[in-house]
């Protein structure tokens, strides 16, 4: 490949905000696709993987992590400015992540639990998704994101196609995979009916109920599911916790948890 056509390749950047690194690691976990990817795309900015820092603008930016500090709130604007397409990856970036649990508490008090000198902690009251700060072209959900879906988003970007990332429930994938429904056959509480597909219905495949790591579906009916979960013996405090994990501030989950909290 000559140097000119190398430069014609679309330029990819990977950015990180408050997160566990798992979603960007997913890119490095695409063992079969990594090398073809690196020759199709110019991986221009990806600090976790490369010291080479190519200048912007970038054709596709993958953004991991939530905004939790004033500096990050500034930085994301810069990222938006230098990105033609901006795709957020993972629950932190699309929903604030587990660190958004501070939204339901007092962040000062949180800091005092963890740090002896909390006054040094520069942090925001809330952990917010990227879309609360800048326009986002596509949100890829999951805690962590699914490898196949990541590849799908990238290839769809290259082909100019709408990514096949449906907003329907985990149940669709659960049935396609041929799992037995743990909710019906075992009485195991499962968030699958209100959780967006994408993981391939992993938890039910392991005889476990879905815990909602891909966030709410396009049209979640959490009150109906809660009726069922209560019938299975899930207590209200447990219901609150069930919805407050990695996508706690997504509106349908927030409402579901607040409804249960009200009853608790």
């Amino acid at each position: 490949m000559t140097s000119t056509d190398r430069n014609d390749r679309p330029r990819l950047a990977v950015w990180k905000f408050a997160s566990c690194d798992g979603c960007q690691l997913t890119l490095l976990d695409c063992e079969d696709e990594l090398l073809p990817l690196a020759s199709t795309l110019d991986i221009a900015y990806f600090l976790e993987a490369s010291s080479a820092v190519g200048p912007g603008p970038y054709d596709l930016s993958l953004v991991e992590g939530s905004i939790t500090t004033p500096q990050d709130a500034e930085h994301i604007r810069h990222v938006r400015r230098v990105s033609r397409r901006l795709v957020t990856i993972g629950a932190c970036a699309t929903a604030g992540g587990i660190q958004a649990l501070r939204d339901f508490a007092d962040v000062r008090e949180f800091a005092s639990v963890v740090y002896a000198r909390p006054e040094y902690i520069a942090t925001l009251e809330r952990s917010t998704p990227i879309s609360a700060h800048v326009p986002v072209d596509f949100e890829l959900r999951g805690c962590p994101i699914d490898k196949r879906q990541l590849i799908e988003v990238i290839t769809a970007f290259l082909a100019g196609r709408r990514p096949v990332v449906p907003g329907h429930s985990v149940c669709v994938e659960c049935k396609i995979r041929g799992n037995i429904c743990v909710l019906v056959a075992h009485g195991t509480p499962c968030l699958g009916p209100v959780t967006q597909a994408g993981c391939g219905a992993l938890c039910p495949a392991f005889n476990r109920g879905c815990y909602g790591c891909f966030g709410p579906t396009e049209t979640p009916n959490t009150p109906a599911l809660n009726t069922k979960l209560r019938r299975l013996g899930v207590s209200d405090p447990d219901l609150v916790r069930v919805y407050r994990t990695f996508n706690a501030t997504e509106e349908p989950f927030r409402q579901a948890s607040e409804e249960a909290e009200g009853d608790a």
Partner: protein, 429 residues
Amino acid sequence: MTHKSVRLGRLSRVEGEAALLVRAHDGRITDLQLNIYEPPRFFEALLRGRSYDEPPDITARICGICPVAYQMSACQAVEAACGVEVTGPLRDLRLLLYYGEWIESHTLHVFLLHAPDFLGYDSGMALAADHRGLMERALELKKAGNELVATLGGRAIHPVNVRLGGFYRVPRPQELAPVAERLRRAREHALTAAAWVSGFDFPDVEFDYRFMALRHTDEYAILSGCPTVSDGTVFPVQEWPAHVVEEQVAHSTAVHARLDGAGGYLVGALARYAINSDRLSPLARTVAREAGLGPVCRNPFRSIVVRAVEIVHACDEALRLIDGYTEPDAPAVPVEPVASIGHGASEAPRGTLYHRYRLDEDGLIAEADIVPPTSQNQARIEADLREFIEPRLDLPHAELAAWCERSIRNHDPCISCSTHFLDLRVEAR
């Protein structure tokens, strides 16, 4: 030239975000700060009030590179509080899962993050452009680790199949057969890798490390063991709080852990090797010898060799466990909450990872404490930098900066694990 400063904006090829500032005057380093600007995520606070069975899932999210380590330390800590010990085939399965993560994480570090330093590349991808076959084998090795984790845990990152007492579902022996097939090839690649990295050009340095790692009666400790220090101190995990104290030092940017009153001890690959090399599998021991490692290695640059040896060990042991696998009767033993305190530690790829939980009478978490390896190593990494950089301050700036980055990368710091890292001085960006 009397004043000199090195400022590394965002460190690359490390997990998480950090910056480094070095100031020197007249050939002496006057100021050295490893700035962790990974924003705080308050895990220990948000764990309070959660149910006793949630830490494996929640703490996995501290780090996407070593989620299994978090899950294992968390499970063992809560189980200890509840008076349960997981043994036999279920413990073997946990170990097997952990080996998968080791293979994945170490291969990532060795090939994609660390090796480019020795060969003058910016990244593993750039290295692959010239050494395609090598990198393909490396990726195959990495994939073998990931697939092992995915087979047992459901997925490579934040596995879903780990629970207190064991698993939600255990694999049928035939599910492990393809994994073993891949691991056998992976072990071959690991052997090649160890030979390859041992031939790198290493700076001739040795530091006087105080090592700490878990030590187990019959294993090269990964899943469990007693914290053991190179000066001879050994203590049970429950006594961790009496030995390891975390301090927020006023002038520093991070919480420094002190071991028995003194900072600057080292956990991780070099420490494990120094304390446990006699417990490596016979094959791994041979490989270590052939790679020129003595019983102790004090050259941080050669940690890449130790990691390569540990990959061989992990492949080897994983295969042994699969060969001897019989399906347990139940996927988990019951764990009922007890109002009590439990401690748990395991060897994450980057070093000892400690968890402590206090449960209340409702089975909720009243208090959580997590000490990740990188916060323990922070002071020692800074010391490495001082010792290594000071004699080289006359080097051209770019070269000096590169050596700084390499000195940090030697310890595979995982800054995402910063349950405690501080954010005193955020660099203007």
